[in-house]
Amino acid sequence: MGEATNVTEVPLPQGGTVAVKPGDFRTEEMLLNIGPQHPSTHGVLRVVVRTDGEIILDSQVHIGYLHRCFEKVVENVTWTQVTPYTDRMDYLASMYNNLGYSLAVEKLGDVEVPERASYIRIIIGELQRIASHLMSVGTYGLDVGAITAFLYCFRDREITLRIFEEVCGQRLNYNYIRPGGVSGDLTDEMLKKIDDFIDYFLPKIDEIDNLLSMNGIFIYRTAGVGILPLDLALDYGCTGPVLRGSGLARDLRKDEPYGLYEQFDFDVITGKGEKGQLGDCWDRYMIRVREMRESCKIIKQALAKIPEGKFIEPKLLKNVKVKKGESYLKVENPRGELGYYIVSDGKKGPYRCSVRAPSFCNIAVLPEISRGCMVADMVVIIGSIDIVMGEVDR
C-alpha cells in the first residue's frame, strides 16, 4: 500500500486538518474566449483558447465577423468600379490594394501606364507603407503597455494622412490608383511636402527605436516569444514581415519587381534573432521599423527622378477594355503578398476576382506559434502578426 504512506495532513484555516493523498488535487483545462470585441485583437477577431493554468494548449481562430463578400459584389460592377471596394479590404493600406488591383487589370488588359504615374505610384505606395507600419508599430506598443510610442507614431501618421488628403481628398479609402494610372497629378508643392516629410521623419524613426524598440521592458516582453520557424512560416503561406522575420529575404519588390521597382536601390530587411531567437515577435516588429527607413530611401530616389508627363489616359477613368483570360498578380503589401486572381470573360466587369489577402494567410499560423505560450503573450503574438480584419474577412 504505497499510497497510504503518501497521505499528508494539511491544516485547514478554520482549524483541524484534512488528509490529502496524491491525485486529490487536479487541474482542469479551461476554455477562454478572447474577442471578438477586444482591444488587442485589432478588429473583430475571436480566438478560443484552451488553457492549462496560464499556458496555452491550443487555440482556434474564428473569423468572418466583417465578411461582406467583396468577391461577389465586384462580379456585378465594371472594371473601374472595383477600385473603391478594394480600398475597404485592407483599410490601413488602401493605396496598395488599389495598386495591386490596377496592376492586375493592366496586365490582363494590356494597358500602358504613363511613366509619371508609375513614379507617383511608388512614392504614394511607399508613403502608404510608412503610414501602415506606423500604425502597426504604434498599436503594438499599446498591446504591450507602452502608450507613449503610440502617440508619437500617430503624430507622424497624421502628416501622411494629410498628404493623402491633399492628393486625393480622402484620409483612409483613397480610390486614387486606378487601372491605367492615378486619378490626379502630384503638384510640385505636394512633392515638396512629401520631401519635407521624409526629411522630418527619418530622425523620428530613431526616436521610435529609443522609445520602444530598444526599450528593455519591451524587449523582455517580445523577444523569444511566439517563435515562428522558417519552414513553418512557408508551410502556412506566411509572407511579408512575418516571413522576413523568420529570416527569408522574400520581398516581391525585389524578387518579381512590378511597377518600376527594379530601378530602385533598397535593402530587404530580414530578422536575425538579435534579441532573442530568430522569428520571434521582436524580429517581426523590428522589420517594420527598419522597412520605414527603406521606404524613405525609395521615396527620396523617386522624388529625385520623377519625370514630367501624363498621369492617366482620361478615357481609362471611365472603363477599361479587358480581353478574355485570366491573370494572377501579386504585390508586396505592407502586410505581405497581396494577390489578385482575375478572370475576365471579355465583358465590362470581372467574371471572378479572387483576393489573396496577406493577413488571412498570416493569422492562420496563430494556433501553431501560440502553443505553449502564456495567455498574456497571446496579445503580443497577435499584435506582431499585424492583421487587418477588413482584409481577413473581405
Partner: protein
C-alpha cells in the same frame, strides 16, 4: 525555370495525367485530373528543380457547367509560379485536399468550400469559415440567390418590397 521548362518537367514525370494547359491565362496553368492532384502536388513541392514551397491561394471559379478549383503555387527559391486547376462537377463538386502537403491550404480550402461548396476530401476540418455556420447556399456560385431572411432579419431588398433589380454589366 521558365514556364516551358516547368511544363516539360511535369509532362515528363506524369505524361497523360497532365490534361493540358490553359492558354487564356497569363501564368502557366496546368489542368490535372483530380485523382492525380495529390501526387502531382507532392512532386511540385519536393522536386528540387520545382520546389513550390509556398501555396499562395486556393480559389474557385464557377463556369456554370463546371466548377474549377484553382491552386496558385510559388517557389521562394526559384521565383516561379504555377497554377494547378482541377475541374469539378457542378452538381456535387469534389476535389482532393492538399492540406497534407501545404498547411496553408487549410483556410483557403475552407473558404472555397464556404463560397462554392467544393468538398475537399481529406480536409481535417471542412467547415464554413467566413459565413455563419448555418448559412444556406454557396454565395459565389453564379446561380446563388440571396435568402429572403436570415434568423428573422429580412434582407434590405425584401424590406423595400422588391427583389433586387437585375443589373448585369456583362449582359
Amino acid at each position: 525555370m521558365t514556364s516551358e521548362e516547368i511544363l516539360k518537367r511535369l509532362q515528363d514525370q506524369f505524361g497523360e495525367a497532365i490534361l493540358g494547359t490553359d492558354d487564356s491565362s497569363l501564368n502557366l496553368t496546368v489542368k490535372v485530373a483530380s485523382e492525380t492532384l495529390l501526387e502531382i502536388s507532392r512532386f511540385c513541392r519536393d522536386d528540387s528543380s520545382l520546389s513550390f514551397d509556398l501555396l499562395s491561394l486556393v480559389s474557385g471559379v464557377d463556369w456554370t457547367d463546371r466548377i474549377e478549383s484553382v491552386i496558385h503555387l510559388d517557389s521562394t527559391a526559384h521565383k516561379h509560379h504555377l497554377v494547378l486547376k482541377v475541374d469539378c462537377d457542378h452538381e456535387s463538386p469534389r476535389c482532393p485536399s492538399v492540406v497534407e502537403i501545404w498547411n496553408a491550404a487549410d483556410w483557403h480550402e475552407r473558404e472555397t468550400y464556404d463560397m462554392f461548396g467544393i468538398i475537399y476530401e481529406g480536409h481535417p476540418n471542412l467547415v464554413r469559415i467566413l459565413c455563419a455556420e448555418d448559412w444556406e447556399g454557396y454565395p459565389l456560385r453564379k446561380d446563388y440567390l440571396m435568402p429572403d431572411e436570415y434568423h428573422g432579419i429580412p434582407n434590405d431588398f425584401q424590406q423595400a418590397g422588391k427583389r433586387p433589380q437585375k443589373y448585369n454589366p456583362r449582359g
